[in-house]
Every structure is written in C-alpha cells, then in structure tokens.
Amino acid sequence: MFDGLKDKLNDFRKDVEETTDEQDPDATDDAPDDASGTDSDAADPGAASAEPATESADRGTGGAPGDPDDDSPAETDAAADDGSEPSTLQRAKAFATGRIIIEEEDLEDPLWNLEMALLESDVEMSVAEAILDTVRETMLGETRKQVETTGELVEEALHDALLDVIAVGQFDFEERIANADKPVTIVFTGVNGVGKTTSIAKLSEWLADHGYSSVLANGDTYRAGANEQIREHADRLDRKIISHEQGGDPAAVIYDGLEYAKANDVDVVLGDTAGRLHTSDDLMAQLEKIDRVVDPDLTLFVDEAVAGQDAVTRAEQFNEAAAIDGAILTKADADSSGGAAISIAYVTGKPILFLGTGQGYDDIERFDPERLVDQLLGADES
C-alpha cells in the first residue's frame, strides 16, 4: 500500500524542481543581455533574473547569501524598478538576500499533476484540494534560500500538508486499552463486505499478543451466515462467542457480551455489527440505538483500502450515527494507493489505527502517520 502514491509524490517533487530550476541556466544566459532586469521569460521573470545577478554579486565580494552586499544596490534597484510583476519590492528584497520567489505559474502544472496523482491514489476530491491548497499556500510567495534546493522546499510543504490531513487525533491504542476500566467495549461499524468480522478476529489475536483477553459478541443478527462466520473464527482462536438467533436485537447481544466479560474478568468485548449502507435510514437508526444502549468505550469504523471517492461520504455518515474514535483500513494488501486512509482521517478527524494486510490472523498492523509520511517522501527507501 501507498507505493503508488509515493512514486507520484516523487514525480511532483521533480516536476517543481524542473520547472523552477530549468530557468536558472536560461537566466544565466539572458541576464547579461537583459541588463534592465525585465525578463522575457514569462514563466519566472523575477526569480530568473534576480538569481544569477545575486550569484555574481556574491561571488565578487564573497558575501554570504543572506547578507546584502554594498556593491549590488545599483543592480537591485534596476531589477526593482523595471520588474513590473506585482511583487517588485519582495523580489528586490529576495534578490538582496539571495533568495528567489516561487511564482504561481511555476506551480500550476506541477500542482495539476499532483492533483491527478492524488485522485489516482483514491484521495477524495475535496481532500485532495485541501492538500493542494496547503501546498500552494506554503510555497507561493515563499522564498527559498540559495542554499536550499527546490526539492527540499517541496518536500517540506508536502510533508506538512500530508501530515496535516493524516495525523489527526492520534492516540496510543494500546495505552488507551491499558488505562481504561475493564471490560472495555469496542463496537465495529461499516458498510457491507469491508471486513468487520475478520478485523474483529484479527484484533482479538492482537489483543491476546499484548496480554488482553477478549470475548466476541455477534451484533450482526441480519446477514445470512454471519453467526457461522464469527463462530468459526471464535472456535479457531479459542474465544468465547456471544450470539443470539438471527433477527435478534444487536444491542442486546453486545450487552450480553459485556455482562459475560464482567462476570468472567475478560478485558475487552469486541462487538460486531451488521454491515449497512449509510443510505439505509432504518439501519442507521438501529446503529444509533446500539451506540446509545451499549455506549461503547471505543467505536471503530472499518473500511477497505480499495474504496474510492465514496469513502468520505460513508465515513462522515457513520461518524454522524455513532461517533467513531478511530478507523481500521482493510484489504491494504490489495491496494497500492491508500488514498482512502487519507480521506477518512481527514473528514472524520479521527486517526487510522490499524491496517488489515492479508487473510491471516496476524495480518494486522498499527498505522503510524509520521512513519507513513516519511516513507512516502523518503526517496531512498522503497
């Protein structure tokens, strides 16, 4: 997962570097002829003409880039007077301090490519736009020092923008379990077929690995084969399963699970619910009722990594019906983009806690946004 996005982010970085840097050599040639400082190169007039001039000035005096030199004011003024672009003064200042300014038109193409890259990675459109806005704002009018490469600047902007949307409301899941009064009730919600039941089995195993006992409660009293499925998992993992007849009250099943846990000193109750589409009003009302009656310590929203633009809509609506504390993203092994993670975290403001990465009980991983963003932007590892 995320490999696809990683490649595309690297492309974006190169794009920006190319569009801003490719003008530097041109500018070196142009600058002497174009002594007035008005650059014919429409793409990047100020930056292109200002930069080589500064370079030569610096070289001549050996002054540090950040240190305005006494020899250069004439040139500075020339550039300032003749540069008719809006940010004349800023550019003059940048010129004097040995920085260049990134212009909007430098970013236009790379940003369009970045938007496509994000969409191609299943990041939802409004979320992608939010990321673009952050990157644009950070970089526009931003000056870069001579010593910095454009690449570093882009990386920083992307890093912040991505972290901004993914790293929301982080908390340590294990610590939360450790500190909570036992038994801890966790209810799993989500649409049909995303892998709620499988995730419950995996999480039960994860809890056992970390020293916590758990009981499964099958709140899916609707779907054909639901009881059999979770019972089979419970048998294989040797866990207690609480279930009622098909058609029973889901809230009652989970409540029974809680009673069982209290009586038998079990740490965690994992409550399954039937998959439901967020458009089904009565089933969403039922979910609200479960939330009200059971009042779980944690509600985890389960969705699949392969989900596209719709991930945002359903995350929002599930969050509305039964406020979620975090999300589990399943089938991460089937998907190389992982944009759904970004979208869900962004709209719910709740962290992605786990990734489901295969069909075995151990195929569950903690999700660490910082590490992810570093990985996404780290050009060396793959």
Partner: protein, 466 residues
C-alpha cells in the same frame, strides 16, 4: 446511481451554452473540465477520464454542428456518443443453459449476487443452481445456502471439502438437471498469486460460458489493476456492480468494463434477493444527460393510456384542449400517471422535467406529491358524477359530506378543488392553440403560467401538490 453527479454538474455547464450557436475554445475547455471533475469524483480511472475528455474536446472543436443544431445539443450529442461507446451494451445473457463463473475481491458481494442472479434466471423460467466453492471464508457455505433458500433456488456446497476445484466439479455433476449453473468463488485480489492460480484452475474445471467480475460500486482507482488481472487469468465477459443503493457512483465499474473490453451485466441495488436489475445502457445515459428516456416514456404512456382507455371509451386526452376541464379529466390524468409507474421515475424520463429539475426538488417531494395524489383520488371517489362533471356545485355542505365519506381532511378536499380550478384556468389559456403549440404550452407551464398542470404539481413546497 452510477454517475448521477455527472448528470447534474454537466447540465449546469451545458446550460451556460444555452442560446449559443458556436462554441469557443473556452466553452469547450470549461465543459471538458467539468466532465473530468465529475468522472473523477465518480471513481473513473484517471487515464480513462483523460482519454474520454480529450476525445470530447477534439470532436467538439473540430466537428461542425449540423445545420440548425445549437452548440448545447451538439456537445450533448458528442458526450452521449462517447459515453455510449465506453459503456457499450449490457452483457448478452441468452436465456438458455449456461455456466457462469463469478470472481471478485473479498466482500464485493459475489455470494449475494450469485443468489440474486439465480433468482433472476428462475423468474425467466429457467432452472438455476448455485455452486459454492468458497472453502476459505468462515460462514461462506452457510451464507450461500441461506441466500439460496430465500431465492428458492437449488444449491450445492460441501462445508467439509477443502478443494474448490473438486467442489466445482462435483457441484456441476450433482446439479446436472439445472439449466443455469452459477459458480461462486472465494474472494481474492489481483496480488494474491496462489489464489489467482486457484481460480484459473476452477475456470479450467468448470469451463464457464461466461465469467463475470463482481465489483463493489465504491471501488476506487484499484479497479483497473484488479480487472486487468482477472481478465488475464480467466477472461471477463461482464461486470456486476453491487451496493449501488449506497452513494458510490460506480465509476470503477466503467474502468473495469474498459479494461476488460466487456460490458455491464447486472446491477445490485439492495440486500434482498430481488434487488437485482439488468443494465440498460442507452436509457441510463440519456437520463444521465438529462435528455429524458423518451423511448421508455412513450412506451409507458402508451401502455397507461391503453389501460385507462379500456375502462372508459368516452375519455380522450385530446378533449382537454377543447371544452371544459372537469374533475373527471383530472382524475383520469392522475390515473394515467399512476399507471406509468412511480412518479419520480416517470418525471425522470421527461426531457426538461427529469434531471435538472429533479435535482432542485427536496428529496421527499416525490413522496409527498404521490401521497397527495392518492388522497385526492380517494376524495374524488366520494364525489358524485355531477360533482365530478361540474365541480362548481360543490359547496360547504357537499365538502362536509365528501370529508365524511372519504375520511380525507377538509383542507385536502379544498386544496383539490383549488388545484382543479387552477388547472382549469391554465388549460383554458391553451385552448385554441394549434397542435404544434405543445412546446409553447410546456414553456408557459415552466414559467409558472397559472401554476397549474405538471408545472404546478412540481412546484415543491408552495405548489398545490407539493
């Protein structure tokens, strides 16, 4: 529903072209951008979107609009043709003996779709059987068995067996009497090499007439890779889109159709076995573009007219434009509309009514309208012939009698009379118009001329039916 948003946003952009006869490059660019946005937010593959929009852009700029065509119609036609070209016809499914293999990702809805398809074939008079080969997912056997019981179709599976290929072989033998064999398989994704090898083995053993890829409507850009892998291993002849009753647009399915060079076979629209539809491409796209599904509408109108006409030979809709408009006429009008089917579906088919206009109505406007129409009908059933022919005779005491007789609130009865009065006035304005004036009449209605007729009914909160 698939690409619903494309419809509304596209209509918005196209409306800016209203009245123009030539397209500027800027116009085309704006439209193409809108098309791209809509398709992308519907999960259609990015490169496919670019191909599609490039084709639309170059055609819109290069092709001369045929004489007399507005720029808007010209673009609409190009978009329509390109989309039809992409979606193609629905997958051909002859009603004869055949074997169908289902494949797809975990949780995409294969088992549910298998039972639904079996139900669909059984309603077509064939004898279907579902063979469950998923030995991996706990509960898969029980789920398939229970779904097949609900669909009342034959089922084969073996909860103790371990080899899906063997189950498939045994299943085909055991259910040899059935006409249609639907082989369900375990969920798998393109990157699981061993499972891909397994489904290839099942495919060889079963030798299906067609393999269908089952895709969740919510699937994103991954659809492309998944589809191409399944196409490579077992050859995909059609796509089943599931969970379309959610808000997902199903654009991933279009990608899959493009990638596998196949077509859409079925749509899954709910949790019960009856919630399955065959895909109807042209009507679907017409409705999408707000052009109205005229073919279906005219069929429905004809059928409804025929049914209404059978009961009462005296009544002729043409009479509306002559003589006076009585409550009886109104009763007939409503009856006819009812016979055409649910109001929202019918409205969606009327050019200019569906699409753009529907988007502006509150969600429950149709339900409200439908309920009111029902109340009106009940009230009219409690009226005498004289009252229906000449509503002017209905005074306070008659209203009270109608209220007692029908159990409908007095307010509603009064609204009915009011509505009739407005429609009568509107109709009388059109009397004397020639045959060719229908369009002017529609226009007048749209502008709220008199507030009667369909325009009035659709007026949302304030309108008499709203």
């Amino acid at each position: 529903m698939v690409l619903d948003d494309l419809g509304s946003s596209l209509r918005g952009t196209l409306d800016t072209l209203q009245g123009k006869s030539r397209l500027s490059e800027d116009d085309v660019e704006a439209i193409v951008k809108e098309i791209q946005r809509s398709l992308l937010s519907a999960d259609v593959d990015v490169s496919l979107v670019m191909e599609l929009s490039d084709a639309i852009e170059s055609r819109a700029l290069e092709e001369e609009p045929p004489g007399g065509t507005t720029a808007r119609d010209h673009v609409l036609k190009i978009v329509y043709e390109e989309l039809v070209d992409l979606v193609g016809d629905s997958t051909e499914l002859p009603l004869e003996s055949q074997t169908i293999l289902l494949a797809g990702l975990q949780g995409s809805g294969k088992t549910t779709s298998a039972a639904k398809m079996a139900w669909w074939f059984s309603k077509k008079g064939l004898r279907p059987a579902v063979i469950q080969t998923d030995t991996f997912r706990p509960g898969a056997y029980d789920q398939a068995k229970q779904m097949c019981e609900r669909a009342e179709v034959e089922f084969y599976g073996d909860p103790d067996a371990e080899d899906p290929v063997q189950i498939a072989r045994d299943g085909l033998e055991e259910t040899a009497d059935a006409d249609v064999h639907i082989v369900d398989t375990a969920g798998r994704h393109a990157l699981e090499d061993d499972l891909i090898a397994e489904i290839e083995a099942i495919e060889t053993a079963v030798d299906p007439d067609r393999s269908l890829l089952v895709l969740d409507a919510a699937i994103g850009q991954g659809a492309k890779e998944q589809a191409s892998q399944f196409e490579q291993s077992i050859g995909i002849e059609g796509v089943v889109i599931t969970k379309l009753d959610g808000t997902a647009k199903g654009g991933g399915a279009l990608t899959a159709v493009n990638e596998t060079d196949s077509s859409i076979a079925f749509l899954g629209t709910g949790e019960t076995v009856q919630d399955i539809e065959r895909f109807e491409p042209s009507g679907f796209i017409s409705r999408l573009l707000g052009m109205g599904d005229l073919k279906q509408l005219s069929e429905r109108v004809e059928r409804a007219m025929a049914e209404t006409g059978d009961d009462d030979e005296d009544w002729d809709p043409e009479d509306l434009l002559e003589g006076s408009f009585t409550l009886k006429d109104m009763q007939k009008q409503m009856e006819t509309m009812n016979k055409m089917g649910p109001l929202d579906q019918v409205m969606d088919m009327i050019p200019g009514m569906g699409g753009g206009m529907m988007d502006q109505l509150p969600d429950d406007a149709m339900d409200v309208t439908q309920n009111r129409m029902r109340d009106f009908e009940v009230a009219m059933d409690s009226m005498t012939d004289e009252e229906l022919e000449n509503p002017r005779v209905i005074g306070q005491s008659r209203v009270e009698r109608i209220v007692r007789g029908s159990g409908i609130e007095e307010e509603t009865v009064r609204e009915l009379l009011e509505q009739h009065k407005m429609m009568d006035q509107t109709i009388s304005q059109f009397q004397g118009m020639g045959d060719g004036d229908m369009q002017r009449m529609m226009k007048k209605l749209e502008q709220g001329g008199g507030g009667g007729g369909l325009g009035g009914m659709m007026g949302g909160g304030k309108g008499p039916f709203g």
